[in-house]
């Protein structure tokens, strides 16, 4: 960032300039599409034509002005405000366009955001990320910001202002299936995380204490990580199918070749490497002199672990959990393929029916869930950092 005092007043942010250019180009692309039904490809409509000009003009202006504010290199707050203004403009255009385009287009007509919208959605978010990186808000501010964003999003969805959009129509016809899928997705992602933590932390502590075990365990876990996810889910089918058939009582507790169990197990296996490796790295992060002093003053190995190694390694340990959580939220989509449930169900149904909006119904909540988890975990990592380290 240019910070020279002389030229500061008129400094232009280079990423801001790039985002403005991209934004203007994206404005010329189709903003929304209208299709006769949910399967066929629709016709693109540019942003200024999605509704009456008097209605679209404020939205387009807000987007352009918002991106223009993103040029202010020395005022990250202004850039942040510009990003918010741009996003509000997009939302306004979507809310005006959806009912207007549907009007008189037929009973089965569908309206969806198109390439222009998605690009324009990304750009203010990048401006916002860039501004936030410069502002470097504390963990509590970031938490409040996240809560505000989620609150606004919930309010908009609840108000029904976007209900005419095709994605939400897909949702309207599957409300209970969506709730089930959401719960199943959360169970897969968080359940496998919890299981990986229960196995991985003790294993990581043992690996930290025992270099021989570390030399064996980490390569094996790395190897597991290299198995492609589809292949891993495929491998689980015969293995768990055989266990379900031959071990008495296994089927009764839900172990079978397809469904929740193989998906869950595959996710746990993928999670072990990040958890174990970060536990080892976290415990090794304590300064050797502090460990030596802890031994020398008469701490038992357990006291050393609890009072010195774990507190000092906690940020690294939590970073491991963050990696696993975000990774598993994404990977859990594939569980839909083997009957494991979750948002993947919609994605694969949508793929089979070439219904793009059904795919989005599965994909968008997954992305949102992963993003929110990543931000929340980052906040937690920051909060557990020793106070002295944050000062320095």
């Amino acid at each position: 960032m240019p910070t020279a005092t002389g030229a500061a007043r008129c400094a232009v942010s280079p990423p801001g300039l790039l985002f403005l250019g991209l934004g203007v180009a994206a404005l010329c692309a189709p903003f929304m599409t209208v299709a006769a039904n949910r399967i066929v490809a629709g016709d693109g409509v540019p942003a200024w034509a999605v509704a009456a000009p008097a209605l679209t003009l404020p939205g387009v202006l807000a987007v352009v002005i918002g991106l223009g504010l993103g040029l202010a290199a020395d005022w990250p707050r202004l850039r942040f405000g510009g990003a918010v203004l741009g996003l509000a403009g997009l939302l306004w255009l979507l809310m005006q366009g959806a009912p207007a385009l549907l009007h008189g287009a037929g009973d089965y007509a569908r309206v969806s955001p198109a390439i222009g919208f998605w690009c324009l959605l990304t750009i203010p978010m990048l401006v916002m990320a860039d501004a936030l990186a410069q502002l470097a808000p504390g963990p509590r501010t970031r938490g409040a910001l996240l809560a505000a964003v989620l609150g606004v999003l919930a309010l908009i969805l609840w108000s029904g202002a976007l209900a005419p959009l095709s994605v939400l129509q897909e949702y309207a016809s599957r409300t209970s299936a969506f709730a089930d899928a959401a719960l199943r997705h959360l169970a897969l992602a968080f359940g496998s995380l919890a299981m990986a933590a229960v196995i991985g932390f003790p294993l990581g502590i043992l690996c930290h204490r025992n270099p021989k075990l570390r030399g064996t365990a980490l390569p094996v876990l790395s190897f597991l990580q290299t198995i492609p996810s589809l292949a891993m889910f495929g491998l689980m089918i015969p293995i768990l199918g055989w266990i379900g058939d031959s071990v008495p009582g296994a089927q009764a507790i839900g172990i079978a070749g397809i469904g929740f169990a193989p998906a869950f197990l595959a996710l746990v296996l993928y999670s072990l490497l990040p958890v174990v490796a970060n536990t080892v790295a976290g415990l090794a992060a304590a300064p050797p002199a502090a460990i030596e002093a802890a031994r020398g003053m008469g701490m038992t190995p357990g006291q050393r672990l609890l009072r010195v190694e774990l507190p000092l390694g906690l940020p690294v340990l939590l970073t491991g959990l963050r990696i696993v959580l975000v990774q598993n939220i994404g990977l859990a989509v594939i569980a839909g393929l083997i009957g494991g449930g979750g948002f993947g169900t919609f994605v694969f149904q949508g793929l089979n029916q070439t219904a793009t909006d059904l795919i989005l119904l599965g994909a968008l909540p997954t992305v949102a869930m992963a993003l929110v988890s990543a931000i929340v975990m980052d906040i937690l990592v920051d909060l557990t950092r020793p106070k002295a380290a944050r000062i320095a």
Partner: protein
């Protein structure tokens, strides 16, 4: 009293410490000095059983260290190391209170002890108690490290190159502080260093280690005057021997009646300082004062006579 009795440590058939026997009196500072690889640190670490001896034993006040579990033994022995080893996530107060907490002292007793030690080390408790180690200077961190080692009033304080990470000026101050505090508390200290200057300055007794063996054990004056082996003489440095010898003699020992011009030296100073003052200002004698009053003078001739080898 610390008795080290034929203690030996063998690594892969090679003795790192070879049948060392020595006795340190309570309330004294014993400095173990040697080059790296001489076994001095291994010897120190066998006292609190951070290293288990291959054979031999250590007795503290008559009781064998092998009679107690290692971690319980270590809680009775202070341990301060180079680079202080403070816990970066704990405040100064929690760092100093670490061993008392392990010993389940009541909270108010720990707090009182922390404040007492901070005051002893010339650090204002109200100002420093709640700071983190990263917010202290190197010298302050080192003082907190020693305060932590002294917190539970241990029978013995082991120090492994405690001043190694400090710059020369702060190191000299830290050494003076240690001497002062050791006198005030009557602590028994065993300190490891590679620096003969530090050994002579701090030690009541100096043990010189070479190749795992104890080659000489005596007062600093004995070591400087009569090095037992060429190695010890080497450690002292032939050229500097007269100066080291002078630094061990207090001015009060050779003070004589008479007058001398110029600024006075304190009677507690040593002859090395007196020699330096003579040479620097071109005087043949300097006045000596005690409590602000001139008590006599020390002459260049008197200094010279003490610097000559009394073989």
């Amino acid at each position: 009293m610390i008795e080290i009795d034929r203690i030996t440590k063998v690594y892969d058939g090679v003795p790192a410490v070879d049948a060392v026997t020595m006795t340190a009196e309570s309330g004294t500072i014993t400095v173990i000095v040697g080059t790296s690889g001489s076994g001095k640190t291994t010897l120190l670490r066998m006292i609190n059983r951070l290293e288990e001896p291959t054979s031999g034993e250590v007795r503290i006040n008559g009781e064998s260290t092998l009679a107690t579990k290692p971690h319980l033994l270590r809680r009775r022995i202070g341990y301060a190391i180079q680079g202080h080893g403070l816990f970066p996530h704990h405040t100064v107060a929690r760092n100093i209170g670490a061993v008392p907490r392990l010993l389940n002292w009541p909270k108010d007793r720990i707090q009182a002890r922390v404040d007492e030690l901070l005051t002893l080390f010339s650090m204002n408790p109200a100002e420093f108690r709640d700071r983190f180690p990263a917010e202290l200077s190197g010298g302050q961190q080192q003082r907190v490290g020693v305060a932590r080692a002294l917190a539970s009033r241990p029978d013995l304080l082991l120090m492994d190159e405690p001043f190694g990470a400090l710059d020369p000026i702060i190191r000299a101050r830290a050494q003076d502080d240690l001497r002062r505090i050791q006198r005030a508390l009557g602590s028994t200290i065993m300190l490891v260093t590679h620096d003969m200057e530090e050994a002579i300055r701090l030690g009541d007794r100096v043990a010189v280690m070479d190749g795992g063996r104890l080659v000489q054990y005596g007062t600093p004056a004995e070591i400087v005057a009569n090095p037992a082996t060429p190695f010890v003489a080497d450690m002292i440095g032939d050229v500097e021997r007269p100066l080291r010898l002078l630094s061990l003699v207090p001015v009060s020992e050779v003070v004589e009646n008479g007058e001398a011009p110029g600024a006075a030296l304190p009677a507690e100073g040593n002859l090395r300082d007196a020699l330096s003052a003579c040479l620097w200002t071109g005087r043949t004698a300097v006045p000596v004062e005690r409590d602000g009053a001139i008590v006599g003078r020390v002459t260049l001739d008197a200094i010279r006579s003490r610097a000559e080898l009394r073989a």
